[in-house]
């Protein structure tokens, strides 16, 4: 059943939140600047609460059930993190307050930077980027600034394996680079021969997702990094899959030069139905001076008696700002809380159990679904969502049928290099019981694909709406509610 929109619910003259009358003498209003019409809804508080409560009930979420969306790391979002971000001391500080009045914020950011450095082996971190994609952009701009600062202006190409995330080519392009793809070999690693063939003095860098979007750790990673370094390029690590590496290996140790973190994946800040994310960037010593800023730093060293004074530091050759202020501060509080509750052994345990869960599911599903690259996987793996003996069934049908079993579909049709891809990432916070149930449902659906394919084709069956007409949506564009005032 469709809920009316807030505009359809609006009743002229209805008043929701009220405000006090002015306690100051009234000033004359600037008549020539006043708007005549403010076509906004008129609702009471109960209207608003009911409306959005009922909308929320149409959503699937981690809190509702299993959400094995590949590459999205839909792990449990701890409730204490939410409380901490709402502490008045954090939530009600203005970003331009004098540093003396926000030492708690600065100390937290400074420590988080230190921790992110330690976790991934980098020498400097900026917390400013707003999301993973902006972290990528930041990283690529840093690569650009690095070459430029050396007068090395011929480097116009960025190499991107076809197993990388889709943002990588977009990022390189918007940063003014030409994108050079390289294929994946039969084992799911970067095709070394192809890579060698494109390595030359025009290479600014390589963007490597490792583990890649097949969920595989590239066995040649050191060789790949060396190749790029040897031709004068830098290696960018896509940190979206960092969850698999915590305490297992540090990208900085492997020779990566720059990497973004997704606090909203690896460090469990909630995805919020599409953000806010948070995409800090870590770099080597050589790249530190290019980071966007300001960055939290120690501006007066402390001693035994006095805590250090934290303040803002601007890197010498910074690429500039990538957004206002210092980043998604509220997300940093959550990530800080999260990391502090895991500690060093906990970090490793996260990756171990994320990988354990993925391999366990892979083992349970291997006989039922074709596995594109069948080897020990990391935190996720990719199945092929089709069956020779049920040709009309596609990955999409399997995905939609999962909804009938109250399970969120895996990422589908990505990565593009696998036919009818179903990309499954269980994360470490799911229990064996949940995985077992998922495996059983997946096996059952494979059976249904043969015995009652119409069940899959017409799925989902119990949702507020069925499969939606996306063509119509794009053709008869309706991007705003019908507004009574305007009609």
């Amino acid at each position: 059943m469709s809920d009316p929109t807030i505009f359809e619910m609006s009743s002229p003259g209805r008043i929701g939140a009220r405000f006090p009358e002015p306690d100051v003498p009234l000033a004359e209003l600037p008549q020539e600047f006043l708007r005549e019409n403010l076509p906004m809804p008129e609702l009471s508080e109960i209207d608003v609460i009911r409306h959005f409560t009922n909308l929320s009930r149409k959503n699937y979420a981690i809190d509702v059930g299993f959400y094995p969306l590949g590459s999205c790391t839909m792990k449990y979002n701890p409730r204490v993190n939410e409380e901490m971000a709402r502490l008045p001391g954090f939530a009600h500080t203005h970003p331009l307050q004098p540093i003396e009045t926000v030492q708690g914020n600065l100390a937290m950011m400074y420590e988080l930077q230190e921790w992110l450095k330690e976790i991934s082996g980098f020498k400097a971190v900026t917390l400013q980027p707003a999301a993973g994609a902006q972290g990528e952009f930041t990283g690529v701009m840093i690569i650009r600034a690095y070459h430029r600062s050396r007068g090395d202006l011929q480097r116009t190409k960025i190499i991107i394996p076809d197993s990388a995330h889709g943002t990588n080519p977009a990022t390189s392009a918007m940063s003014g680079f030409e994108v050079v793809p390289v294929p994946t070999d039969a084992d799911g690693n970067v095709d070394m021969a192809a890579l060698r063939a494109v390595c030359d003095e025009h290479v600014a860098g390589l963007m490597l997702t490792n583990p890649n979007t097949l969920g595989l750790f590239d066995c040649n990673v050191k060789e790949v990094v060396d190749l790029i370094h040897n031709c004068g390029g830098l290696v960018y690590g896509d940190g979206a899959n960092l969850n698999a590496l915590l305490g297992i290996v540090r990208p900085g140790d492997l020779g990566f030069d720059v990497m973004h973190y997704n606090l909203h994946k690896t460090f469990s800040t909630p995805h919020g139905g599409g953000g806010p994310g948070s995409g800090p960037v870590g770099v080597t010593e050589a790249l530190a001076e290019f980071l966007p800023g300001p960055i939290a730093g120690i501006v007066e060293e402390g001693d035994e008696e006095m805590a250090p004074l934290y303040g803002w530091v601007m890197p010498a050759k910074s690429i500039g700002r990538v957004k206002s202020f210092f980043g998604q501060f509220g997300m940093m509080v959550r990530a800080y809380t999260y990391i502090s509750m895991y500690g060093p052994d906990g970090m490793r345990s996260i990756a171990e159990h994320a990988v354990l869960n993925a391999n366990y599911l892979l083992a349970r599903l291997r006989d039922t679904y074709k596995v594109a690259y069948d080897r020990v996987c990391m935190h996720e793996f990719v199945l092929e969502g089709h069956f020779a003996d049920a040709p009309e069934i596609h990955a999409l049908d399997i995905a939609k049928r999962l909804i009938d079993y109250n399970i969120h579909p895996p990422t589908n049709y990505f990565p593009l290099i696998v036919k009818e891809a179903l990309m499954i990432e269980p994360t470490e916070t799911e229990s064996k019981q949940v995985l077992d149930q998922f495996a059983e449902v997946m096996v059952k659906i494979a059976e249904e694909a043969r015995t009652s394919p119409e069940l899959l084709k017409s799925a989902p069956h119990n949702t507020p709406v069925g499969r939606l007409d996306e063509v119509k949506a794009a053709r008869d564009l309706v991007l705003c509610c019908w507004v009574p005032d305007k009609a």
Partner: protein, 450 residues
């Protein structure tokens, strides 16, 4: 720790996989780097973590305790309790981007409504599902303008009274576009110029002109003449707005804006030390297919039931890859929701009311300060809820004194405009009582006499 595995379960799972230990799963990782010892503090329990975070938060002075007259891009507004109460619903905050519309109609309809609210508030035809913040929204406008002219117009005019952080972010974003010139805000330009002063800078090579409304100094201008000049040159007018002001001021759509961007934080978002905030982005219909970021559209299912989907996804990076003009995927979903709830709760009446409260209180404060010896208002245009005061001493000195009295003073404009030493930008909102304003005036007077 949120890992549920028991020892017995872990053993059974390893057996099913066919390995003996967890370590065996990591054979592909180069041995010399495998399992580094991490120098992190030992794990805390929830009880300990809460104590630690409370201590950090307590080490700040916050605007519930301080009296706040600081704005300059982030504003202290009242947020009705209903906003956070809805944000706390797990179905909203623990959901992903709505890629599976059948189980994401909640998020999708909420964004659709957000788009509608923003379009109506700004007087534009269409809004996207949000950008990261006002600054990045401004940068995305520059990217749009650049591509709109297929890179053939090499000049972008930025008003010096556009938020300095917005200008800085636009510069970073446009750095990859060779040969592009960003101008208008050079140190030589009078920061207090009027819109008309920008007109001579606009030419056939200009892709866009970006101004702010009210501007960074709080001033309200009629941009009609500028819009006309910009359009005559074939360029686009980009207006960065404060959404609170739009509760009473003419919508930019009325005076010819092609793209409206803005910082949505005043719409029910805590100041939270600068983020997460909300990038408003709305345009005329002409640019729909060039907008970066997500768009939600209305459609139907096979039974004709109304529903919502992400639409025009062919523009997005995961499909266009290197042909995409933006790489944005995750945006500010939950914050956009917060602003939609805020706008719904306040509605037509409340949005106007808050705007007027800000206006009246700011004007009371300004007129009182203007009467204090040594202080004067120094930008002569009408203003909304922020204004510039010329002070008798450096702003940092005055602010230190104010802080001793529990007042968070205004923004020191000399940080961005070296010529504006002793210039303080003060913001007044519905949160400031007359008593607080009078106290501010008393302390300002006192500082001058010290």
């Amino acid at each position: 720790m949120y890992i549920p595995h028991t020892d017995a379960e872990r053993e059974a799972m390893l057996r099913t996989i066919g390995v003996k230990s967890l370590d065996e799963l990591f054979q592909d990782v180069p041995a010399e780097f495998r399992f580094p010892k991490l120098d992190l503090p030992p794990a805390l329990t929830e009880m300990e973590a809460v104590a630690q975070l409370q201590e950090l938060a307590g080490a700040n002075e916050n605007t519930r305790d301080l009296v706040c007259f600081l704005g300059a891009g982030a504003y202290n507004h009242f947020i009705p309790a209903a906003v956070d109460s809805l944000l706390r619903r797990g179905e909203f905050f623990t959901a992903y981007t709505p890629y599976q519309p059948e189980v994401a109609q909640g998020t999708l309809q909420a964004i659709f409504e957000y788009q509608s609210l923003v379009a109506n508030l700004t007087g534009m035809d269409v809004s996207n599902a949000s950008h990261y913040d006002g600054a990045t929204a401004a940068a995305e406008a520059a990217v749009l303008a650049y591509h709109h002219f297929r890179g053939k117009r090499g000049k972008i005019v930025l008003s010096p009274s556009l938020n300095p952080m917005f200008r800085a972010t636009v510069r970073t974003y446009m750095d990859g576009y060779e040969g592009l010139v960003l101008t208008g805000d050079e140190a030589s330009v009078d920061p207090f110029l009027t819109p008309e002063d920008l007109i001579p800078m606009v030419d056939q090579n200009t892709s866009m002109v970006a101004v702010q409304y009210p501007d960074f100094f709080g001033r309200v201008f009629d941009y009609t003449a500028l819009a006309k000049a910009v359009h005559e040159a074939g360029a686009l007018l980009v207006v960065a707005v404060n959404p609170t002001a739009l509760g009473m001021l003419k919508a930019p759509g009325e005076f010819g804006a092609d793209i409206v961007v803005g910082e949505g934080q005043p719409l029910g978002i805590p100041m939270s030390f600068g983020g997460p905030y909300l990038g408003l982005f709305a345009t005329k219909n002409d640019f729909i297919r060039k907008i970066a970021g997500r768009l939600v559209g209305e459609t139907v299912d096979a039974q004709g039931r109304r529903g919502y989907v992400l639409t025009l996804t062919a523009r997005e990076q995961h499909i266009r890859r290197e042909k995409a003009t933006s790489n944005i995927c995750t945006n500010q979903g939950l914050i956009a929701l917060a602003s939609a709830v805020y706008m719904s709760l306040l509605g037509k009446h409340g949005l106007r009311k808050v705007a007027e409260l800000c206006y009246h209180k700011a004007h009371y404060a300004a007129s009182r300060i203007n009467q204090i010896e040594g202080y004067s208002l120094c930008a002569n245009a009408p203003f909304f809820h922020e204004f510039v005061v010329c002070c008798p001493k450096p702003v940092s000195e005055i602010n230190a004194h104010l802080l001793d009295h529990g007042i968070l003073g205004g923004y020191d404009l000399s940080k961005d405009y070296p010529e504006l030493s002793n210039h303080m930008l003060l913001a007044v909102t519905e949160m400031n009582s007359k008593e607080e304003i009078d106290m501010l005036c008393d302390v300002l007077a006192e500082v001058n006499h010290e």
